[in-house]
């Protein structure tokens, strides 16, 4: 028995879950129970296999007699893939609790495409896990395509709406442009390493120029999949239209698989990291962080908003990786290890809280059939437990202590603050500015989640469906509860988790951060206790203690509580439409950062016929569009179309011409060969 055996079992369960679901069109119960239980088993096995590999610290290698005749499938489970294996497993487990309840809507509505949903979910998870195990470029690309293509079918699942079909096509297109770049990146390094196994690639000896080309290709490819700015525009289109538990998997872990690929390629296969690469990653990371949160602030479709926050969080992870690369190239691997740990811990945390938030958004959708924040309100009373879990997710993603999102952002700040130890003055001044952008983004994220929570869960209901929402079933709450508890636990006991993650920089850089956890589980001291320390358990205990003392002291002298009407300025009868909406809430920020968006704002007034000075109705229309569309995607799209038209001229439509083309090509080729 080895971790690899368990990992195989996880793969087999994922596949079995997909196959079992094939019968779901006839027997919907198969999907809700059979397939979900197998997914749960897959999740558990993946957690155990990954955790074991992470603690074991020795890579487990294997070859399977599959694939090409001269290249068997090489598989490897080491600390890095083990860590991501567990992350995927955690979310798959939560989703397996959640899915049966969520799918009720689909089974009741007699949608006869359940088999497709279950089958591709199984394949999607299989693909993600297989990417993590791959130890040669061939398996990697097969698994990568399996992951991309099967998730395409999940995005296109509700294909009745034209917008969803468009989103799915965009997703497929982007996944393949990215996939192509990754393939070329592998090609460059395999050409120098004389082989497609990762073993051969590690030994490859590249010149700096070729290494930079390979790096640029894979950064573009993986970055596209991960949703970095400016190639992120597909993400907020595609992720929200999938069923919510699939959105959770896509945003929570599929993006992390891309991060895994990037770390594996850059740190493990390529090596010899240049500071220019690190700076590129850092700058793009900072841009993704800030633009992601600014675009998120303008959304009022809950799932789209969450998808934009994935762009933000991928930016934070990239900042950690970028800092790590800069420090490594400057010969400070111990600080590089710190940056890498920050990035890895944020990957884990983001998987947890983004998964939680997407499941929560799904619960709201399930209970109210409402996407739009501006129609929600007062859900804390209708869905009390979902509201509690969602609040934990909001606090975590806003980077507030003592939850998990704060810890990884804190570590990123600590890594950035070590910039004075660098020699280059440019880097010394750029890194703190990047850190200030991270601070701005964190504060804006908090504003965004006050908006989300305040508009959706607090106040009073803005529509009838929302006013009569019912709490979701036990399984869905269990799925969310599991992730919420983990958000709290990983926030309060970060040193335990980081003690385990230490093995990853140890493998990649041959160095452990000097004393991240040297002072016991109570303290987190990334560099040394004199420089910075954070004790999450004490912080949590402190806030709880002070709040408790003030509560008890006040409890000793009870006074009466009375319910009354809120202040209505003496005009009477407040109604739900007088509340601030999501659009109103973010208006000051929209005004301040206005150059960031392509915003079209129109106010239409109709006037009274007899008294023209009296306004009868006012309509406010606001459309905020992502600038990457008008600045990047559309020009490129036009360019491609124009090029296609040029090329189209040689297509005459006559078979004779085409035969002539073939003939001349053949002759040309023969001439070249001889």
């Amino acid at each position: 028995m080895s971790p690899l055996t368990l990992a195989y079992l996880a793969l087999v369960s994922a596949l079995a879950s997909g196959i079992v679901a094939l019968g779901a069109d006839r027997y919907p119960g198969l999907l809700r129970y059979g397939s979900s239980i197998l997914l749960g088993a897959c999740g558990l096995l993946a957690i155990v296999a990954g955790g074991w590999a992470l603690l074991d610290e020795t890579p487990h290698l294997d070859q399977l007699a599959l694939g090409l005749p001269w290249l068997q499938w090489h598989l490897r489970l080491d600390v890095l893939s083990g860590f991501f294996f567990s992350v995927v497993g955690l979310l798959v487990l939560a989703v397996s609790f959640y899915a049966p309840g969520y799918l009720q809507d689909y089974t009741h509505a007699k949608i006869r495409e359940l088999a497709a949903l279950g089958f591709f979910t199984g394949l999607f998870i299989l693909g993600m896990l297989l990417v993590l195990l791959a130890d040669d470029a061939f398996v990697f690309m097969i698994a990568w395509e399996l992951m991309s293509v099967s998730s395409y079918f999940l995005v296109a699942y509700q294909h009745q709406h034209a917008a969803n079909r468009r989103a799915a096509f965009l997703y497929l297109l982007m996944a393949h442009v990215g996939g192509l770049a990754i393939l070329l990146g592998f090609g460059v390094i395999a050409g120098f390493g004389n082989g497609f196994t990762f073993e051969a690639m590690r030994a490859a000896n590249l010149s700096v120029t070729w290494a930079s080309i390979a790096f640029a290709l894979v950064f573009f490819g993986f970055g596209m999949k991960a949703g970095m700015v400016p190639v992120h525009a597909w993400l907020p289109e595609a992720h929200p239209v999938a069923p919510s538990h699939i959105s959770a998997l896509m945003s929570g872990v599929m993006l992390k698989v891309a991060i895994y690929g990037f770390i594996r390629f850059t740190f493990d296969l390529l090596g010899n990291i240049q500071w220019q690469w690190g700076l590129t990653v850092l700058v793009i990371g900072a841009a993704s962080t800030l633009l992601g949160v600014l675009y998120a602030l303008m959304q009022h479709d809950l799932k789209r908003l969450l998808a934009y926050h994935s762009v933000e969080n991928i930016g934070i992870i990239l900042m950690g990786i970028g800092l790590s690369m800069i420090f490594i190239s400057a010969g400070r691997p111990e600080l590089g290890a710190l940056g890498l740990i920050a990035a890895l811990y944020h990957s884990l945390n983001h998987a947890l809280f983004k998964g939680l938030l997407f499941l929560g958004a799904g619960a709201v959708l399930h209970a109210t059939h409402e996407h739009d924040l501006n129609n929600m309100g007062g859900l804390i009373k209708r869905l009390p437990q979902t509201a509690m879990f969602f609040l934990i997710g909001c606090l975590a993603i806003s980077g507030l202590p003592p939850l998990n999102g704060f810890v990884s952002e804190w570590l990123t700040f600590q890594a950035a603050l070590q910039a004075p130890s660098l020699d280059s003055g440019v880097l010394r001044s750029l890194i703190p500015i990047a850190a200030a952008l991270l601070a701005l983004s964190a504060a804006l994220a908090a504003a965004c989640f006050v908006k989300v929570y305040g508009v959706a869960f607090l106040g009073t209901a803005r529509s009838r469906k929302v006013a009569h929402a019912r709490e979701v079933d036990v399984g869905m709450r269990a799925g969310m509860g599991l992730l919420a508890v983990l958000c709290v636990v990983f926030g309060i006991f970060p040193s335990v988790v980081i003690g385990a993650i230490d093995a990853i920089p140890n493998m990649l850089l041959g160095i452990k951060p000097p004393s991240a956890t040297a002072h016991g589980w109570l303290w987190l001291t990334p560099i040394s206790p004199k420089i910075a320390s954070y004790s999450a358990p004490l912080v949590f205990a402190g806030v709880a203690l002070f709040a408790f003392i003030s509560y008890v002291v006040l409890r000793a002298r009870p006074v009466k509580f009375r319910r009354g009407y809120p202040w209505d300025c003496g005009f009477g009868a407040l109604n739900a439409r007088m509340q601030y909406t999501a659009t109103a809430f973010s208006m000051p920020i929209r005004r301040i950062f206005s150059p960031v968006w392509d915003a079209i704002e129109q106010i239409e007034e109709t006037h009274n016929v007899t008294q023209p000075q009296r306004t009868e109705t006012i309509r406010h229309h606001l459309q905020v569009q992502d600038k990457s569309w008008s600045r990047l995607y559309e020009p490129i799209g036009r360019l491609v179309l124009a090029a296609a038209r040029r090329v189209g001229r040689i297509q005459t439509g006559s078979i004779h011409t085409y035969l002539a083309y073939s003939f001349f090509t053949l002759i040309l080729l023969l001439w070249v060969v001889t």
Binding site: L417, I433, A436, A443, A446, L458, V539, R563
Partner: protein, 315 residues
């Protein structure tokens, strides 16, 4: 153990002196504006009155509204606990560094804003929206100022940073001057003082902080008001002890502690006067001028940081 007891005592002192500082600022302000001044103890009397009063809850209020005052108060006290007031090298400073401190204040702001949204009135939403906007702009300035300090002292631990300034003697660091100005401007914005917000107004269109807590009454209001006073004191102590640490006790001896106490009292009295003069000569700004105010503060902090990188680190 003595150290922990002293730290607890220092925190208590912090919490119970905060209303006095509020009283001092109010009193000087009255004198400055030729009004009859209330007693220094007036804030205590107000708090006592509020604690005794009945609490009225709005009908729509959920547990968020009822829990927020406790969370805000708890987070603010914990922040106070990690700020060196009378002495450095107290064990509480290690629990949370200055980034965590900013995080605590953000946590308190997050819940206050949620409580504002909880009632479902336009005022609450308006206050929350504005407060989060101001907070979002103020936080990077605050961290930028703090980073300048942290990079100079190569620590984010407040106690260590204070010791560093103390040990480096009376040297002129241009970066510190910029950082201090930035920090002071942020302090004004974050504690809701003129010109960003006016704590004394209930004028509907200009309220920010007051709009969020409009529905609070009785003991809930008392906790929030008290937390606000502690927050003002935290910022003043930060300015006083980071940039002018002289007098603060480095040994935990009775003598040193007495000197430390007198020193911080003198510094706070002086800073209170500075705040009042500032508030008296400034007029309240329109809301959309606030980004310019904070943008200027950000520029100052950035200049501070760049000055540090360019001028103060050799090579």
């Amino acid at each position: 153990m003595t150290a922990w007891i002293l730290a607890a005592l220092q925190t208590l002192l912090f919490v119970f002196m905060a209303p006095l500082l509020g009283g001092w600022v109010g009193r000087v302000k009255c004198h400055m504006q030729n009004r009859a001044a209330p007693s220094l103890l007036q804030p205590y009397r107000d708090l006592a009155k509020l604690f005794r009063k009945h609490t009225v809850l709005a009908e729509q209020a959920s547990w968020i509204f009822r829990g927020t005052p406790y969370i805000v108060f708890g987070a603010t006290i914990l922040t106070a606990a990690v700020v060196p007031l009378v002495a450095v090298q107290l064990p509480t400073a290690a629990i949370a560094d200055v980034i965590v401190l900013v995080g605590f204040l953000a946590l308190a702001r997050f819940f206050t804003a949620l409580a504002g949204m909880d009632i479902g009135t336009a005022f609450g939403g308006m206050g929350s929206s504005r407060e989060m906007m101001i907070g979002a702009l103020a936080e990077p300035v605050l961290l930028m100022a703090v980073f300048t300090l942290a990079m100079t002292a190569s620590t984010t631990n407040l106690s260590e940073a204070t010791t560093f300034t103390l040990n480096s003697g009376l040297v002129l660091r241009p970066s510190f001057i910029f950082a201090m100005l930035g920090l002071m401007m942020v302090a004004v914005a974050e504690t809701g003082r003129v010109p960003v917000d006016n704590p004394a107004t209930h004028l509907e269109l200009t309220m920010v902080h007051e709009a969020m807590i409009l529905e609070y009454s009785g003991r809930h209001l008392a906790l929030i008001v008290w937390a606000g006073q502690i927050k003002l004191m935290i910022y003043m102590v930060l300015v006083a002890n980071i940039f002018f640490p002289w007098g603060i006790a480095t040994e935990l001896a009775a003598n040193d502690l007495a000197v430390g106490l007198a020193a911080i009292a003198a510094k706070l009295i002086l800073l209170g006067v500075v705040l009042v003069v500032w508030e008296t000569v400034m007029a309240k700004m329109r809301l959309f001028r606030v980004p310019q105010f904070l943008g200027f503060a950000f520029l100052l902090s950035l200049l501070g940081m760049l000055t540090h990188v360019v001028l103060e680190t050799g090579g």
